[in-house]
Amino acid sequence: MPRVTIARNILAANEEIAADVRRRLAAAGVRCINLMSGPGAGKTTLLERSVARLRGQLAVGVIEGDIETSLDAERIEAAGAQVVQINTRGACHLEAHMVRDALETLNLQRLDLLFIENIGNLVCPAAWDLGEDLRAVVVSTTEGDEKPAKYPQIFAAAQVLVLNKMDLLPYVDYDPERVCTQALAVNPGLQIFALSCRSGEGLDAWCDWLLAFTSKRSVTTARETPYIMGGAGS
């Protein structure tokens, strides 16, 4: 039976849109971070704290991905950032076309740094390129210290790891060293921050790093990791 070549990445359509998002952000001089974690690790809280601390130094925008509700977007808006809510109505991760549409309602000329809060899910969000410059994963002390070993793909695909809720360390069986060892085994280049959004411990270092990241125009791009779908050998 005759064969016809297709030779196309299954996610080629997503990647084309992601490339378009990346071009538009770069043209407007906006740096973009895709923030990922399991449900409730503290992504929104970290964004609230970051926005508040960086006020007057960086213009921060947020694209809030949630399956339902605009609760998180309301929290971010109250903290003083431009925000757009995306509701995926059940979908387990954000895709590039959702981000492209969200860009329409943001004033990019007014922004320095754009966060995309992905859906709370450690399994698949990392696999979808959204056009970001960098991916950060948040884990917290209340969710067990085996996450990098159990969900290696998302840690392999990120450049930054945030250990949140360090204030709760005395009350939980959680070994931060263990988490770091596991995460560095799948991704030796990970940059790690340990902090508490509640006590504020570690937030200065995180915000200093955000300032440096935003002022740099050519840090390693997120696209270079093979662990977004179809990355290597395609």
Partner: protein, 123 residues
């Protein structure tokens, strides 16, 4: 969990290619999927069959999936090795590799085509 949307993308790409080439019937679609891509092969098969049955071009088409191993290149040893649990560390010398050779692909390779009335091949 998102295998349905992957299957949808495959069907769209195949239909577009079929139209481009004037193909009426697609009998089989061949994929190459990396073992570290996170794709659930059974779920993808199931979703593909379901969506293919709704497409005039793809009704009854088979999906074959070639799984590639997760492998990396060790520069000091000048050889490839198998990556276990995403830890791309050479089992011989302990060096971490940054060159992943395979295992993350999500490729649509090609399709088998035939006119109406022809039987699909039984591999």
């Amino acid at each position: 969990m998102h295998e349905l949307s992957l299957a949808q993308s495959i069907i769209e790409a195949v239909e577009a290619r079929a139209e481009e080439c004037g193909v009426e019937r697609v009998r089989a679609v061949h994929l190459r999927v990396g073992e570290a891509s996170g794709v659930l092969v059974d779920a993808l098969q199931f979703a593909f069959e379901m969506l293919a049955s709704l497409s005039p071009t793809l009704t009854g088409a088979r999906l074959t999936i070639e799984i590639t191993p997760h492998r990396a290149w060790c520069e000091p040893c000048a050889r490839t090795f198998t990556v276990m649990d995403f830890v791309a560390r050479c089992p011989t010398c302990g060096t971490w590799s940054t060159r992943i050779l395979s295992g993350t692909e999500l490729q649509i390779l090609d399709m088998e085509v035939g006119a109406d009335g022809e039987q699909g091949s039984q591999e």
